[in-house]
């Protein structure tokens, strides 16, 4: 595996790992039992993908539990706290649309990621469908759900640009990805009677952010919780 492929496996693996962790925080707190099942199901799919990707780059547990914040390569979008259900679903809509389009491209290519993408794209199609349906229900539901969904879609908009910064080692047509994503998200938001957010899709701080290991404040706390037990027993097997 080349150095670029290694970095790429970490980037894609960290996206899946971190979002899976956030979704795992919902267990026991979802608005209906069906969503307990659905959110856990999505979290499990993502964790499965993360394990494959991190194992391509090294030992999955060392990579998950023993790296510090600055060494993680995930998008800032996926580390955003869950917030309310609308917030979680807006994050899910933005990310699963991106991931579905990306894995669709990778699945038809011949990179080292093709086998994973070929299988995962089916899981991600379900995640995307789930997010799109909820975006419509919440956007076009009650006044309150509309307001919450709009607020969530707008609040997370600033983290969406990062998805289309090319990742070395990921052979994708980034420009086409971005256009398809824009088109799809615009269609879903519009059909959900929501405004497509305006404003920049990247923070004013142009450091490249998550992919370069620059994260938002809540991420360190998330890692502290995730890694604490593993780090407390160096070398132990579980």
């Amino acid at each position: 595996m080349t150095a670029a492929e290694h970095t790429a496996a970490l980037a894609l693996g960290d996206d899946a790992l971190v979002l899976s962790h956030r979704l795992g925080e919902w267990a026991g707190h979802a608005p209906v039992l069906e969503e307990e099942v659905a959110l856990a199901n999505i979290a499990l799919d993502l964790l499965g993908q993360a394990r494959v990707l991190l194992s391509m780059a090294g030992d999955e547990d060392e990579l998950a539990y023993l790296r510090e914040e600055r060494a993680f390569r995930n998008l800032q979008l996926v580390e955003q706290p869950n917030g309310d259900f609308a917030h979680t679903l807006a994050r899910q809509l933005y990310f699963s649309t991106f991931q579905h389009l990306l894995y669709g491209q990778l699945a038809t290519g011949d990179s080292v990621f093709a086998p994973l993408a070929g299988k995962a794209v089916h899981e991600v199609a379900y995640h995307r469908d789930h997010a799109e349906q909820w975006t419509r229900r919440l956007g076009d539901g009650t006044e309150e759900s509309h307001r919450r969904m709009q607020r969530a879609a707008t609040a997370l908009w600033q983290f969406t640009g990062e998805m289309f910064q090319p990742v070395e080692g990921v052979p994708a047509d980034w420009q086409q990805l971005e256009q398809s994503w824009q088109r799809s998200v615009t269609e879903v938001l519009t059909s959900a009677t929501l405004e497509v957010p305006e404003g920049p899709r990247a923070g004013a701080w142009k450091a490249g952010a998550g992919r370069q290991g620059l994260h938002t404040e809540s991420f360190g706390r998330m890692l502290a919780e995730m890694q604490h037990l593993h780090r407390s027993h160096p070398g132990a097997r579980w």
Binding site: V37, N41, F85
Partner: protein, 354 residues
């Protein structure tokens, strides 16, 4: 599934039959080990007992998610994290089957959840104990799921069809979790000294509460006799408890862990393990709401429900707008949320997509 083909139902073939005649048909069906189905006539007390038992069972699955979910974000390896997430997801699924079974008796999930939230219906006392270390997750899998299975396997032959069928599915998944719990404890027991101590401490704390899961002793069990007569229950509390102890003792030995009972010894004459006296006062306190986590569990459950109200309302409003003519029922959120996890998903040990 075998439904008695020609059993009269009120309003159809049973037109004009007396209450006594219906009762005779019901008694004969139960005596012949036939399954009672939702449209069959049944004594009101039988219906009420089943609603109470199935609801309490469903509530236990839902509340039981909490002590384990407490460790999802801290699971020490990705493999264990996947196993735990799959397990908690299964529990939500079991809750769904069981609420579905209860609904065939003429109640609704909303009504039952309301009774749970207001404390009018109970859930298993075991879930009022805290999960203090990672080893508790393994101990719950081994002991709590083990006790649940011992209780539930006979329910697969329970006289009420929908409940019996739900239990068949639940038991298959529970056995899987139980093996994983055992395997997790074994890894700890054979691990570092600190891990071994963690495992022993967890078993020390979960052993007696697990024995209490079988309910009060036979001579104090209010519903037992009637439930056995109706073939809802097949074995008494004490019989099942003894069966569980007999299974656990050799398992503890192969785990390399001890059970916290100085009176535990093989009785050659009975061909069973004798065990010490259960602290029934603790059991009673917990049932009264005075256990270590009673308030916390019900508060979290209520909060999840209240915080989700706007989501359920949105789903209903959306369904009304977009499916005119389709009468809308329940929580209205079923569209995309199939429970179609594959066996592999539950396994958790897979590299999900590999």
């Amino acid at each position: 599934m075998a439904t008695a083909p020609a059993r009269p139902t009120p309003g159809s073939a049973g037109e004009g039959m007396s209450e006594e005649a219906f009762e005779a048909v019901f008694d004969a069906a139960v005596a012949a080990d036939e399954r009672i189905e939702p449209r069959d006539w049944m004594p009101e007390a039988y219906r009420a007992t089943l609603v109470r038992q199935i609801a309490q069972h469903a509530h236990s699955e839902i509340i039981g998610m909490q002590p384990e979910a407490n460790w999802i974000t801290r699971a020490p390896s990705l493999r264990r994290k996947a196993i735990l997430m799959a397990k908690v997801q299964d529990e939500a699924g079991h809750g769904l089957y069981l609420y579905g079974a209860a609904e065939t008796l003429g109640t609704s999930r909303d009504e039952l959840l309301d009774k749970l939230h207001s404390g009018r219906q109970k859930y298993s006392s075991i879930f009022n104990y805290p999960t203090l270390t990672w080893a508790d997750v393994g101990a719950i899998g081994w002991l709590v799921d083990g006790a649940a299975i011992t209780n539930q396997v006979p329910l697969c032959r329970c006289s009420y069809g929908p409940y019996a069928r739900a239990m068949v599915r639940v038991c298959k998944e529970e056995s899987f979790h139980q093996r994983q719990g055992y395997e997790s404890l074994l890894a700890l027991s054979r691990g570092t000294t600190a891990q071994h101590e963690m495992a022993q401490d967890a078993v020390n704390r979960w052993w007696w509460p697990s024995l209490m899961m079988f309910g009060p002793p036979d001579d104090e069990s209010a519903h037992s006799a009637q439930s056995m007569e109706w073939k809802i229950k097949r074995f008494s509390n004490d019989e099942l408890r003894q069966r569980f102890v007999d299974i656990c003792v050799p398992q503890a030995e192969s785990l390399g862990l001890s059970l916290p009972d100085p009176d535990l010894r093989w009785n050659e004459e009975r061909q069973h393990w004798d065990f010490g006296e259960i602290d029934w006062s603790e059991f009673k306190e917990i049932l009264k709401g005075n256990g270590p986590c009673n308030d916390q569990r019900i508060t979290q459950r209520r909060r999840a429900h209240e915080n989700g109200a706007w989501v359920r309302e949105a789903a209903e409003a959306y369904a009304r707008k977009h499916s005119p003519g389709t009468p809308h029922t329940g929580t209205g959120t079923s569209t995309s949320t199939s429970t179609s996890t594959s066996t592999d998903d539950r396994n958790g040990t897979r590299k999900a997509t590999a």
